[in-house]
């Protein structure tokens, strides 16, 4: 016959969970990359559920836009993804330009010189953005050195941006119909040559650095242990959650808007699209945190390639702004997406033919990617949450808008 004590010990065995503990991670926490709050429901150190709470940086971008003319909206797009503000300016301008092009009575085209400047600056901005992602991800995992190296190199890029538009973070450089001429740079002038030489110097310096960073962090065994085979996002899951850009390519989907739906002049350049692969000898699985990170490291090399092609060709002559009397798109609506460093940046514009949009929606790549966090983190350890957030590379300014 069983004693009472024996029965009790059996009950304890049948109840493998400890009491659930709820921990707030954020909104003020350095490794949540901004003001993200996670409500963690923990069983010891295992995460049963991580529920993201967003909106701490909501600045009513969409409501503001309804009361502003199109050119006035551009500085607001800067403040969406402030790490890659050039790309945000560009995405918005492309959407407006496409809607204006639908009006056949008006004929305008973005000048060739502006197109080259746009690609040049946006690819440099992509490098700056990925550098920040690389540096902070290292720091999240516990490596401080990559952060200092990344910011040292990013500083040189910010100085270049400052030379061309006067600002270091929120540029308002790309305008509807061209680029800003706030700091004049005559075609063929000494200024232009100096600027291009400076970019070339940077690339010569930076290209070997990528390999150095791969030695420093990518193949570091502590870093690999923390990120390989962690939080595997399958291709179906990534598609369903609307994850785009490096997150989608990290899941093994070969998709890049610059190549597959070429806009601007991307079809003139030769570049590869890095896609994650299984690497059994290292232990990397397609879709894990390491793969998403590695895609970004490889993309920096491709951006360097594109910029080098522009430098070899040189900037064409001509104006940098189209001859636009007013920005007044026709009545209608458009959705246009472009490849920002964090993925597919879409703008949905509804116009009634006035200088202000009726509705403007920014489809943020981070917003969609972050929604996968809850499913990705289920059953992992608390420390893995940090690895996931860093690997999907979010900027809260864009999530909350």
């Amino acid at each position: 016959m069983e004693t009472t004590q024996q029965t009790e010990s059996k009950i304890i065995e049948l109840k493998p969970f400890t009491d659930e503990m709820v921990v707030n991670m954020g909104p003020q926490h350095p490794s949540t990359h901004g003001v993200l709050r996670l409500e963690l429901r923990l069983d010891g150190e295992v995460v049963r559920e991580a529920i993201p709470h967003i909106g701490y940086l909501h600045r009513c971008f969409e409501k503001h836009s309804e009361n502003l003319s199109y050119p006035q909206i551009i500085p607001f797009t800067d403040r969406m993804d402030y790490v890659a503000a050039m790309n945000q300016n560009w995405g918005f301008c492309l959407a407006v330009e496409k809607l204006m092009a639908a009006d056949e009575t008006k004929d305008f085209a973005v000048p060739e010189r502006a197109e080259y400047l746009r690609v040049l600056i946006c690819e440099l901005n992509r490098i700056a953005s990925h550098l920040l992602s690389f540096g902070t991800y290292g720091m999240d995992i516990g490596a401080f050195t990559p952060f200092l190296y990344a910011f040292r190199d990013r500083e040189r890029l910010l100085l270049l941006f400052e030379k061309i538009c006067g600002a270091r973070l929120t540029y308002n450089y790309i305008r509807i119909g061209g680029v800003s001429e706030i700091i004049p740079m005559e075609p063929g002038s000494v200024d232009e040559q100096n600027f291009l030489d400076e970019i070339k110097d940077f690339l010569d310096y930076f290209e070997p650095k990528i390999d150095e960073y791969n030695d420093l962090l990518t193949s570091n065994s502590i870093f690999s242990e923390r990120t390989m085979s962690v939080a595997v996002m399958s291709a179906e899951m990534a598609l369903s959650y609307g994850a785009t850009g490096p997150n989608l390519r990290g899941s093994g989907v070969d998709w890049d808007l610059r190549r597959d739906e070429p806009y601007s002049i991307y079809d003139r350049f030769d570049f590869d699209v890095p896609v994650a692969k299984d690497i059994p000898e290292l232990g990397a699985v397609v879709g894990d945190c390491w793969s998403r990170y590695k895609v970004r490291m490889d993309e920096m090399k491709e951006s360097v390639r594109i910029v080098r092609q522009i430098l070899a060709e040189g900037l064409p002559d001509g104006p940098v702004m189209a001859d636009l009397k007013a920005v007044r798109p026709p009545k209608g609506e458009i959705y246009f997406r472009s490849e920002a460093p964090r993925g597919e940046l879409g703008f949905y514009i509804v116009s009634d033919g006035t200088p202000k949009p009726v509705r403007l929606k920014g489809r943020s790549p981070c917003f969609s990617a972050l929604s996968a966090l809850q499913e990705l983190s289920r059953g992992l350890m608390v420390a893995d949450i940090i690895a996931i957030i860093g690997s999907i590379d979010i900027v809260m300014g864009e999530v909350d808008r």
């Binding site: 909106g55 598609l239 959705y335 997406r337 949905y348 009726v358 509705r359 929604s371």
Partner: protein, 161 residues
């Protein structure tokens, strides 16, 4: 496949639930769908092999003006497999704004629908977790509605300044 062909396929399949095809305005043409049928139409678009719309690019609520009687929900969907896209539009009356959720079809619709609920007050039936996402839980009103008036105070703090 272009939007016109997709419109034809949908009218053959769903008949009166497909209300029209709007090509008059500049930009993307859109197919108008009766709100009650939107989830079924989306399910069909995803499951049919020749269509295979596997990704929802964007889901937005739209209010065209304070005098309009309807909100719209606009779906921008894309097929990675066939590389074609289409725009669906479902219009719901402002007084009783509700339509079926598509969050069980594309998981990204979960947060996008929460955003449309948060900012327009459109209810998505069948959504498992429909609560505010960008604004605080106790915020009153739906700010992106054209007739929205911001409150004077929120928890003792002055709002307009």
């Amino acid at each position: 496949m272009n939007p016109e062909e997709i419109y034809k396929i949908l009218t053959d399949k769903f008949g009166e639930s497909v209300l029209g095809f709007d090509t008059e305005l500049a930009g993307d043409p859109n197919i108008q769908i009766a709100p009650a049928a939107i989830a079924d139409v989306c399910q069909y678009l995803v499951e049919t092999d020749t269509l295979a719309f596997d990704s929802l690019m964007c889901l937005s609520g739209v209010d065209l003006g304070a005098k309009e009687e309807e909100f719209s929900v606009v779906y921008h969907i894309y097929s990675m497999q066939h590389r074609h896209s289409v725009v669906l539009r479902a219009s719901v009356p402002k007084t009783d704004a509700h339509l079926p959720s598509v969050s069980h079809i594309w998981k990204t619709a979960d947060w996008h629908e929460r955003e449309a609920y948060d900012l327009y007050g459109i209810l998505f039936e069948g959504h498992t977790d429909l609560r505010r996402i960008l604004l605080p839980d106790d915020w009153e009103g739906y700010p992106l509605r054209k007739d929205y008036k911001e409150p004077d105070f929120y928890r003792g703090m002055r709002v307009p300044y």
